[in-house]
C-alpha cells in the first residue's frame, strides 16, 4: 500500500483544488481554478503542480479555442483528473479483488438477473436511507440523490449524465455485467422519481444516462 498520492490531499485547499478540477467537464488552467476557488493564481498553480506530481491530475497543453498560428501565444497548461485509481484502506482491505472474484463467478454462472435484482434493492435502500425511508416522488431531483451517492451528475439536455464511473477497473473488466448492475442500482435509487435510466455509453464517463421525468423542473 502506498499512501503518498493520497497524502497530498491532506491540505484542505489542495483537496478543494482537486475537487474543483474533477468536477469540470474539460481540462482547466490555473486561471479558471484561481477564479473558481477565489485563490491567487500562484497558489492555484502550486497546488495543481503538486497534484500532478502525485499522479492525481494529468497535464495537457492546448491553445485557447480560436487562437492559432503565430501570435497565438504559448499553449496553456491544463489539468484534468487522472484516470488511475488510488485506494486507501486502514486496516488493509482487498474489496476490489473480492469484486473481481464475484464478478467472474456471476458471469460464468449466468447469474446476472439475481445480481441485478440485488443491485436494484440496494439502490432503493440507499435512497430510503438518504430520504428517511421515503422513495422519491415523481419529479424529484435525481441530481441531488446521485451526487450524494458519488456519481458526479451533470445535465445534458433532457438527460442527466454521470462523469464518474463508480466501479472503474471492475467495470472495465466486466462491462456488460458491472455496467448492467450499475444501471440496476440507479434504477433502484430513482425508483418512483419518474426518471428513466438506460445504458448509453460514450467514450468517457459512466455508461448510464438518465432521461429526466417530464415533471422535473416544474
Amino acid at each position: 500500500m502506498t499512501a503518498s498520492p493520497l497524502a497530498v490531499l491532506h491540505d484542505p485547499v489542495r483537496r478543494g483544488v482537486y475537487e474543483f478540477v474533477a468536477a469540470q467537464g474539460a481540462p482547466v488552467g490555473r486561471d479558471a481554478v484561481a477564479g473558481g476557488m477565489s485563490i491567487g493564481r500562484t497558489l492555484a498553480a502550486f497546488h495543481l503542480d503538486k497534484l500532478a506530481a502525485a499522479g492525481l491530475l494529468e497535464v495537457t497543453y492546448a491553445r485557447p479555442a480560436g487562437r492559432t498560428g503565430p501570435g497565438a501565444g504559448r499553449p496553456a497548461k491544463l489539468y484534468r483528473r487522472a484516470v488511475g485509481e488510488h485506494l486507501l484502506s486502514v486496516p488493509p482491505r482487498e474489496y476490489r479483488a473480492l469484486a473481481e472474484i464475484l464478478a467472474e463467478a456471476v458471469e460464468e454462472s449466468g447469474a446476472d438477473a439475481a445480481a441485478a435484482a440485488s443491485a436494484r434493492r440496494q439502490g432503493a435502500a440507499r435512497t430510503a436511507a438518504i430520504r428517511g425511508g421515503l422513495a422519491p416522488d415523481d419529479g424529484a431531483d435525481p441530481v441531488a440523490l446521485l451526487t450524494e451517492l458519488g456519481y458526479e451528475p451533470y445535465l445534458d439536455g433532457a438527460d442527466v449524465r454521470l462523469r464518474n464511473c463508480p466501479f472503474g477497473t471492475v467495470a472495465a473488466a466486466f462491462p456488460p455485467l458491472v455496467c448492467g448492475l450499475n444501471l440496476a442500482l440507479i434504477e433502484g435509487v430513482l425508483d418512483g422519481s419518474g426518471c428513466a435510466p438506460r445504458l448509453d455509453p460514450r467514450p468517457e464517463g459512466c455508461c448510464v444516462a438518465i432521461r429526466l421525468s417530464k415533471n422535473n423542473g416544474d
Binding site: 449466468g110 473488466a173 462491462p175 456488460p176 448509453d200 455508461c207
Partner: protein
Amino acid sequence: MHLAQLNIATPVAPPGSPELEGFMSRLEEINALADRSPGFVWRLVGDDGDDATGLRPYGPDVMVNLSVWESLESLREFTYRTGHLELMRSRRQWFKAADGPYLAMWWVPAGHIPSVVEAGERLEHLRVHGPTPEAFTFRAPFPRPGTLAA
C-alpha cells in the same frame, strides 16, 4: 496485423422463436453499427442473408460471430462503448451461460480473412491452454506481434 475475434453462443430457443425476438429484432441495427464503427474490417455473413445467424459451423445449436478489426481498442470501443453494450447486458435472456470460453481473439496478417475452421481451433486452444498469444481475451490480451508489451 489485424485482430480476429470469434464468439459463440447457444440460444435458449431457435432464432425464429418468440424467445429470441428481442435479439433478432436488434441484429440488423447492431450489425450496421459494427460495419460503420472505426476500425471495423470484416465480419462473417452467411450466403442467405446479411448476418451469420443462419450459420452453424460448430454444431446445430451454436450461433457464431466472427469478425476482424484493425485493433483491440477498436473492437473494445464497439463492444463496450456503443449500443452493443445494452445488447450484451441482456444476453442471458437469449443465450445460455457458456460452459467454458465463448470468445477468442488472435492476431492475423492484415488482409487475412479467418475461416470458421481456423477460428474454431483458436477457441479450442484457449479452452485447453488458457490465454496465450495464439488465442486470448479482453481481460487477458496479448500485444500485436512486433510491438512491445505495454
